[in-house]
Symmetry: C2
Subunit: 199 residues, 2 copies
Amino acid sequence: MAHTRLDPEARRRQLIELGLKMLSCESSEQVAIDRIAEAAGISRGLLFHYFPTKRDYHVAVVRAAADHMLEVTAPDPDLPVIERLRAGLMAYVDFVAANHALYVSLVRGAAGGDDELQQIFDQTRTRIVDRVVEALAMPPGGPAAVRTVLRGWVGFVEESTLDWLGHRDLERDALVTLQEQVLLSSIETAASVGGIPAR
Amino acid sequence: MAHTRLDPEARRRQLIELGLKMLSCESSEQVAIDRIAEAAGISRGLLFHYFPTKRDYHVAVVRAAADHMLEVTAPDPDLPVIERLRAGLMAYVDFVAANHALYVSLVRGAAGGDDELQQIFDQTRTRIVDRVVEALAMPPGGPAAVRTVLRGWVGFVEESTLDWLGHRDLERDALVTLQEQVLLSSIETAASVGGIPAR
């Protein structure tokens, strides 16, 4: 590819987009810096000018992937509560289906003891929990058990979606119904267990 | 520490035990090969004789940790169904509380795109699901939705336990009750959704 002049911000964005595209079909270990640079039409050296280490680049790509996922699953405030939740889950499952490898590397093992990546994952999960609390119009700072089941439920959604991706023996809508029903019954269970109010 | 003569199998076991002990209190990135060798009273070179790379060593330690977790949570066949499940969950939560860093590195990010580690995690989750199926005397090869929720529930247990560890604002027994109730209601939901029978 011909070398194109781009301002630094645009170049950074282009490199991250390329990483996202490659991560959608192969695992992060397989994405070679050389191929990213080649696809961008720049030298390996220039890539390292934008991202000093392979890890810096990886962190930037994962952050972009998490932002992208949060964006496509953003709740539609015009929908009634339960439909808003369902629409978010549909968008999530569709995102996952369209970005299998990217998703696996987001959910599974991508952190590898890296604190910054861990933080991105935690923040993403917290954002999802906050949205559910908002969508269901739950009072903030409710019982600890509710916070605990909401975090647990995010794990449920991640794992059940991975299982579904590996088998595809359920309709997408049935998967979403499962995730939705498990959320509602989990919250009910939590309300009956209680616990010290969460901060 | 004095150099002790050990046969190869015993030496391997000793090195893995040391790794487990260190991983119980610090993340895998911080566990230095040098300190393991020093604690075992052997040279770094001899350690690499048993485990050719740091990754080989890490895989062996993670496998031992997963086996250890499965062992301490093994179901007691003398207990009635629901109590068997509850006892398994109690043992799991206690294991996690006693091995926080080890557990975090097992659940979170430890795979880092490593296929062998990924396999260990998947096998461990499959074993847990098999135990639940057995404990609840469910027919094997039931509806796909049941398999999907059971995998999802393992994610629920992992995430809710991590949340609990970070806050400790619930009684251990309340956490286990949540996990147990969410399992039962999830299975009920799955039975009503069905899906193509799992292979």
